[in-house]
């Protein structure tokens, strides 16, 4: 060890010596400045170290002499009026690493500055293109890392429930999918880690198969504001973005745990990122989550078979050179979700008995056991991304992904035949495999113009085994888009347009022979967003666009019984595409004490597809069932999302949040069912100043009021919508700084008053109350070690 130490000392001495010499020269230089000859000139050229090509318009400076010039379009420059002696020339250019060279004057030869690309500069372009935008604007809401801390352990949809205009469509306690401005399923796109998520999203009881613990940020683009992501963003798009794999040497680790009292559940999630000094161009990440919950308790009883279990895993590798980057990512999502056994009904009489309360399932105790009925879900993603920097301000990106989605649904009862029962097969098995390829090219001109263009191709295959719900199909989609963005200090304009072709090939067996039918749709879509800052306080914006959606296999061909809803759903193969026109306004006020936001929206949907009750009911061996048929009618959806944040004295803060929606048929002005009721949220936050190692300690107390959704279509429901309800919640949290690591601890309580209530947007509102009081303890531990 001693020799190396000696070496370091020597090196240090050498460096200091050089420093002193330089200082001396400088001092001498200053003293002799007046007397020295000061009419020398130098000529230089700035070149890209990798390509050897000249780099235009680089800044060339001699800081000590306050001399500067800009190289011309061929990369050449001349500096006049130099005195003899040593000078340090700094050469800088946006997108390149700033370089310094020491030159002795006079110098007759051409000075060649070799500058290298700055990979971190393009990573910021990366983030911007994949994370949509860094800041919320018109039509965009953002949940950053800090916002996500207080909802760790919840499902993706539950995490989004505090975002204005976003609701959850639930099936019992374990299944929830996001609803944006009243629209969901195939009208809401989800992008997971830059890839369009492809599962069985058409089904209202199919929750998104995504582990939200991977997310570093979640953004929501409402309506056409997310057109870059697809022509079918009728409701909007949800972007789940993980942190970018680190590019500087060191290790980052994060551990998340949470425990819930209602369901006696636990969640453990960990993520490690590493980049090694010897292999700086390589970055790794590894992430995993395990979650297990038992039976959920309402204020009166345990709900039988409402536990769930999940095991998710992801890994990624990044390889970055100055001009190109290669990224591989793999993730797998595994979940077993118990379905409340009291929700399975044989027929309408059974449902009637449950509604009347005469046939409630026998009281159950707490258990982690997941029996029938249940869902088993697996989602696998393989992803490869390649980017190449095509010029100083342009970048080409190529993306390929394969997704495999498995959904197995187990009915309440095993078959009577023992040999079949012994197999314990699911009564329904759906498999969907998707291959997608994307190419996009981003060009920037100065700080104002951004141009992006791209194309996309998708192949998807869907098969089913067991009970018929939707037929086998293959889908071929192609599309191309252009996007232009202009911005200055006050105004930002974004316009995009796209054209997409969607061919759906349906395979069915009719009279013992395979019949196929093609449903081809193609259309264009466009969107524009304007954001304008009137002054430091007021900001206004408007977003508008036209989007469309091809009919899904279920809307065209579904034909079967829904055991949960005791209803018969029928598709209609003659249905046409749905076209949406939407308009969204935004008004933002920001002062020192107050932040307010008002976002009214209006949406006209041509041929809005929904389930219409039809007579006569269908006769089966289990009795008569009501029939619902997919039907199209023009619809108008309008509403307002509002937010107010006021800073009060004594480090207090008040937050108000309102989401209001009205949905009607455009012609006969009747209400459209299955739309969320008005929601108002209020919360008070008391911040405390940092105390020793405690950072940002706070207490939050809040309430949520959801109004009764009385605006429903007449006579198409077994039960009138449930009453309005108020829920109280509270949270106490703090960060703790321990050397290089951060610990974040919070204890929160939901449904603090143990309110008995039902929600209109829960499909199991016929069968059971919502969950009772729940306490959650969350601990997040982050450590970063740079070396």
């Amino acid at each position: 060890m001693t020799p190396s130490l000696e070496y370091f000392k020597l090196k240090h001495h050498a460096q200091s010596a050089r420093f002193y010499v330089l200082m001396l020269i400088n001092v001498a230089f200053l003293i002799t400045k007046t007397s020295a000859q000061c009419d020398f000139q130098i000529n230089g050229i700035v070149e890209d170290a990798e390509t050897q090509l000249p780099v235009a318009y680089a800044m060339v400076e001699i800081k000590a002499l306050q001399l500067a010039t800009v190289a011309d379009s061929t990369g050449q420059y001349t500096l006049h009026g130099l005195c003899n002696g040593q000078v340090i020339i700094t050469c800088s250019r946006i997108g390149f690493i700033t370089e310094e060279v020491e030159i002795s004057i006079p110098s007759d030869s051409l000075i060649r500055h070799k500058i290298t690309f700055d990979p971190t500069f393009f990573s910021s372009v990366d983030i911007e293109s994949s994370k949509y935008r860094k800041e919320a604007g018109t039509g965009i809401s953002i949940l950053d890392k800090e916002n996500l801390l207080s909802t760790k352990g919840l499902s993706l949809s539950d995490q989004l429930e505090n975002v204005p205009g976003v609701y959850g469509l639930k099936t019992g306690t374990g299944i929830s999918k996001p609803v944006i401005h009243g629209l969901h399923s195939s009208r809401v796109l989800i992008y997971n880690n830059g890839i369009r998520h492809e599962g069985q999203q058409w089904g209202s009881e199919h929750a998104p198969e995504i582990d939200p613990n991977l997310a570093d940020q979640i953004s929501i683009a409402y309506g056409a504001a997310g057109l870059r992501y697809g022509h079918d963003v009728i409701g909007g798009v949800i972007l789940v973005e993980p942190a970018e794999i680190r590019r500087i040497p060191g290790i980052t680790a994060e551990l998340n745990t949470s425990g819930i009292s209602n369901g006696r559940g636990g969640m453990f999630s960990g993520e490690v990122q590493a980049n090694f000094k010897k292999l700086k161009s390589l970055g790794f990440m590894l992430q995993g989550t395990f979650q297990q919950n038992g039976n959920i308790q309402t204020p009166h009883q345990y709900l039988d078979n409402t536990g769930n279990r999940g095991l998710n895993y992801a890994t990624g590798i990044n390889f970055n050179k100055s001009r190109f980057g290669l990224h591989f990512f793999y993730s797998i999502y595994n979940a077993d979700i118990g379905i409340y056994s009291g929700s399975h009904t044989g027929n309408l009489t059974d449902l009637q008995h449950i509604i009347e309360g005469t046939n409630l399932p026998s009281t159950t105790n707490f258990s982690y056991h997941i029996g029938r009925p249940k869902q088993h879900i697996l989602h696998e993603l393989h992803k490869v991304r390649f980017h190449y920097v095509t010029g100083i301000n342009s970048k080409l990106e190529i993306l390929y992904a394969r997704q495999y989605n498995l959904r197995e649904e187990y009915d309440k009862h095993i078959p009577r035949n023992d040999s079949i029962a012994g197999l314990n097969n699911p009564e329904l098995k759906l498999e969907i495999t998707t291959h997608s390829g994307d190419v996009s090219w981003l060009i920037r001109r100065g700080s104002r113009h951004t141009f992006q263009t791209g194309a996309r191709g998708v192949y998807q295959a869907n098969t089913y085994e067991g009970r018929f719900v939707i037929p086998n199909y293959e889908r071929f989609s192609y599309g191309a888009f252009v996007l232009y963005e202009w911005q200055n200090k006050y105004t930002k304009i974004e316009s995009s347009a796209r054209y997409d072709i969607n061919d759906l090939m349906i395979y069915r067996v009719i009279n013992q022979s395979i019949t196929n039918k093609k449903h081809g749709t193609a259309n264009f879509a466009f969107a524009s967003t304007l954001d304008h800052k009137i002054n430091n306080i007021v900001q206004v914006g408007i977003s508008t666009g036209r989007t469309w959606r091809a009919m899904q296999a279920n809307e065209l061909y579904s034909n079967g019984l829904h055991h949960g809803a005791a209803s018969f759903e029928k598709g209609d193969s003659t249905l046409q595409q749905e076209i949406s026109w939407n308009l969204l306004g935004s008004l933002r006020l920001t002062t020192k004490r107050l932040r307010a936001e008002l976002n009214p929206y209006f949406q006209f949907i041509n041929e809005f597809t929904y389930l219409l009750p039809q007579t006569p009911p269908i006769l089966t061996i289990r009795g008569a069932f009501p029939v619902f048929v997919y039907t199209q009618k023009d619809a108008i959806l309008k509403g307002t999302d509002a937010m107010l944040n006021v800073k009060l004295p004594f480090e207090m803060e008040a937050r108000l949040n309102a989401s209001i929606l009205r949905a009607k048929n455009a012609k006969d002005k009747t209400f459209i069912s299955q739309m969320p009721g008005d929601r108002y949220q209020v919360s008070f936050i008391k911040h405390f100043s940092n105390l020793k190692k405690l950072t940002k300690p706070k207490i939050v107390v809040g309430g949520t009021y959801v109004n009764k959704q009385w605006r429903v279509a007449d006579n198409n429901d077994y039960l009138p919508p449930p009453n309005a309800y108020v829920l109280m919640q509270a949270e106490i949290s703090t960060g703790i700084q321990i050397k290089k690591s951060t610990l974040h601890i919070s204890l929160s309580a939901n449904n603090l008053l143990n309110e008995t209530y039902r929600d209109y947007m829960n499909r199991f509102r016929y069968f059971s109350d919502e969950a009772g009081r729940n306490f959650t303890l969350r601990i997040t531990y982050q450590i970063e070690n740079n070396r």
Binding site: F276, Y464, E465
Partner: protein, 191 residues
């Protein structure tokens, strides 16, 4: 030196995890172009037959059938008989349940008999002058595959035949469980 080893092993572990997972690949074994022949829900009940035998042997035995060969939905039932019985007669009645989506037809009533502790038939009579008694037993409670129907005077009404699936919760009453069959047969009793 220790630290250097740490780096290398960490790097190896990460590469190992990455390579093993990227090579994992779940696959769909089915091809979309070849859908399964019959959209089978395992053990569909397509057919319910009531076979009436006059105990005295004076009238001809009669059968009432509900038959929906393509199962729930699709086409309407192809046969839905009215029960025709004679007044002041005692019948023994047998219920036969079939799955005719498979060939040969599968007898569901045999499965019901095998799992008789989990099943119960219920009969609900409206306006028809008939009294129905289950005559078979699972050892503790009645089943209803076999029953006795005693008619009195001529009348017109309905009989609803219900099969309740009551795994582990059978208590002899019709309340618990889920409904597997519920058919409201029209009924005519003639002199």
């Amino acid at each position: 030196m220790m630290k250097k080893h740490h780096h290398q092993s960490a790097l190896l572990i990460l590469i190992f995890f990455f390579l093993t997972s990227i090579s994992a690949c779940h696959k769909d074994d089915e091809s979309p172009e070849t859908p399964q022949e019959t959209p089978n829900e395992e053990e569909v009940i397509t057919t319910c037959k009531l076979v009436f035998t006059d105990v005295s042997g004076t009238t001809i035995d009669t059968i009432a059938v509900y038959r929906d060969p393509d199962g729930d939905g699709g086409n309407a039932p192809v046969q839905f008989d009215t029960i025709h019985l004679h007044a002041s007669t005692t019948y023994t009645t047998e219920i036969i349940l079939l799955n005719e989506t498979v060939s040969p037809a599968d007898s569901i009533s045999n499965e019901v008999l095998e799992e008789s502790q989990d099943h119960l038939f219920c009969f609900h009579v409206v306006d028809a002058n008939v009294s129905i008694t289950r005559t078979d037993s699972d050892g503790t409670f009645e089943i209803g595959l076999q029953s006795e129907w005693i008619t009195t005077t001529a009348s017109t009404g309905t009989v609803t035949v219900t099969l309740k699936h009551q795994p582990g919760i059978k208590d002899g009453t019709c309340d618990p469980g889920d409904t597997d069959v519920e058919i409201q047969f029209p009924m005519v009793i003639v002199e």
